[in-house]
Symmetry: none
Subunit: 403 residues, 2 copies
């Protein structure tokens, strides 16, 4: 992308730090037309102060009207147009749990499921078995071996795992085996391009052996595979922006997308916003850029829990002084996409954006952080891919273009 060339050419070394704080699925909807959204409901005195001192706007993750998955939405936040850079879900998940996926390897997400006596799915998530039940089953699967290839399996969370297939001449052009409904058997692995025929055969052999190893299980006696993909060899974040970047995220997928763009995963104990911000503090001197990912705003949105989502936002707001005390030169608070509790799912609505930089931001007239304030904020409505250049500029980490 020519924008990357511009960043490569203009980025400037410095000690100023940049924070990108992502509240997953932040954007919401009011219950009643004239009522507040989740973000507008939440009491957020810290964010409101930053909104008054800083500038608001709203970002469009992919294109207007397009509801993004988490992978494309995060790529966009990092400046990678998701219509140009296609990253599969399998490689995101596998990378997120620390597996190495080289270009040419094929990664997939796996779900345990419950099959009836005819082999039809009765529960697509195997009763959401807890991690301690799933772990030994993943270990069984790890014992499968197939000639000429290497297969690595790793547990992700509850009923979910990741598989990486390594060998010569593999191709990820394969269709998901999850039929997306109960009452149907898992589909065989089918190639969507002739080059992937052999890869499909290998995966089908593996699935057959796995089924046999799981046949004694009451809940997790079957599995489905999704998101077959390889490492897309993305241009790397530090090379583009000149920033050494750390990702502070609890969930594997977000670590995965951060790692694929070249960020380092900063490991830490705990799951709360306080824990995540403390992790940032502990690594403050080692990095230029911190991507912090808060998952539960999205989870509450998907649950349809309007007030639960507002409460998560309040908990982030309460912990915010920890982050501000570190003295970032520029801070953005936004989401990867909207997940209105009212819709219980991701949506296409633009995402509220708060940009704060004590030395350089041009304030607008807004006084609080919320969807309506952001829609008339001074930054206007912008593509998510423009956020990183704005952050770098506000942190004094970009040189002038032309004389």
């Amino acid at each position: 992308m020519p924008e990357f060339d511009l960043m490569r050419r203009l980025h400037r070394a410095g000690r100023q730090k940049v924070i990108l704080l992502i509240l997953d699925g932040l954007g919401g909807l009011p219950i009643e037309p004239d009522g507040p959204t989740e973000l507008e409901t939440a009491r957020t005195p810290n964010m409101d102060r930053l909104a008054a001192e800083g500038i608001l706007g709203q970002i469009v993750p992919v294109r207007l009207g397009i509801t993004p998955g988490s992978g494309p939405a995060h790529l966009a936040l990092f400046g990678y147009d998701p219509l140009t850079f296609d990253v599969g879900r399998g490689v995101l998940e596998a990378t997120g749990v620390g597996m190495h996926v080289a270009a040419g390897d094929v990664a997939a997400r796996g779900n345990f499921c419950t099959l009836d006596s005819e082999g039809k799915i009765v529960d697509r998530r195997a009763g959401r078995i807890p991690s301690q039940e799933a772990l030994p089953l993943v270990e069984r699967l790890a014992g499968i071996s197939i000639p000429d290839v290497e297969i690595e399996v790793r547990h992700v969370r509850e009923y979910r795992f990741a598989v990486v297939l390594r060998g010569q001449g593999l191709d990820p052009s394969l269709a998901d085996t999850d039929p997306q409904q109960t009452g149907r058997a898992p589909l065989p692995v089918e190639p969507t391009a002739p080059e992937a025929t052999r890869t499909a055969q290998i995966f089908n052999t593996w699935v057959e052996q796995a089924r046999s190893l799981l046949s004694d299980q009451p809940k997790a006696n079957g599995l489905t595979l999704r998101g077959f993909s390889t490492n897309p060899s993305l241009p790397q974040f530090d090379e583009i922006y000149g920033l050494k970047a750390a990702a502070v995220a609890v969930y594997p997928m977000y670590r995965g997308v951060a790692k694929l763009v070249g960020m380092e995963i900063h490991h830490f104990e705990g799951e709360s916003p306080q824990d995540e911000f403390a992790a940032v503090a502990s690594a403050w001197n080692e990095y230029d850029f911190f991507f912090i990912h808060i998952k539960k705003t999205d989870s509450k949105g998907e649950d349809g829990d309007f007030h639960g989502k507002a409460a998560i936002i309040e908990s982030v707001d309460g912990a915010l002084p920890q982050l501000l005390d570190l003295g970032p030169a520029a801070l953005a608070i936004t989401g990867d996409h909207s997940t209105p509790a009212r819709m219980k799912t991701h949506s296409w609505h633009p995402v509220p954006l708060l940009l704060w930089a004590p030395q350089t931001v041009r304030p607008d007239n807004q006084r609080s952080f919320g969807e309506r304030a952001c829609a008339t904020g001074g930054l206007g409505t912008l593509p998510a891919t423009d956020l990183l250049p704005l952050l770098l500029a506000h942190a004094g980490r970009l040189n002038k273009y032309g004389a």
Copy 2:
């Protein structure tokens, strides 16, 4: 660019006049988050009336977050995407002082500097010697001759001059010789591509002779060269927009960029806004389009002089009735980029835009011309390259697209 093809296809002849009034570095920042900017501080009754009757918005010169130099910023105002059209500073400066730079010639900016006995720079601007001291030195340099090439030297202002090298097989791929700091000697002219090796040798020979001619000088006993470049053969303004265009500017560089896109330079006496507007009046019947450039807003911004910048804006506002009396069909008042006094330098912040057209503009709710009003103006935030089509449309100089 496809946008140019659209303009070529749709532009319409007419007698309606268009004015583009540029206050260089217009955009600013408040000193305190809730305080006014320079433009918001300035008392501007005329602009405020136009703001009430017209529509506001803000323009992004190059891309969000990108701080432009004056060359790219002006190209963008004229509709030329500066990432597509690259114009060197040397050709801008040389063209601005009326030198002819053909495609294949190599132009450069020159600075006199002060060297110590070891040849190291002690003052990069030769004590900012006044023009009357520099002029005879430029005449000395003009006497240098080198076989097979023609070298023209012309004084620009104070310690600055321009050089144009003409001949066969020249190439402008040369690095600046200004080391950008004192205590170091000027660098030799180095080629950045093998094709420019001979051109570098010629310039080095010229510099050597120049040094010898300047050796008796107390202040201007050395020189540096920057911005080596040739004529980029830009598509021409009248051919794209169907407008005969005049540039009214005091400073050479802005005349240079106007001339490179094919505008005619309208010469006049004086430097004040009144002088510039009187120049427009004197040429009113000869042109369709007037680019007026006010430099001092930027100069005051670079000096960090917040109130001085506001005073310049007030002086432009005071003279504005002169311009309005001419009866333009469409008028835009904006800047090429922001130069907040608080930052003392160009910045990436969007630039306030006021668009006024008595017959055709759709007013918004804004009542005064300022950054906050513009950020929520009816035009929204738009690329600078969209301004010319908007001006032509409001002046009735564009046909309908499609039936």
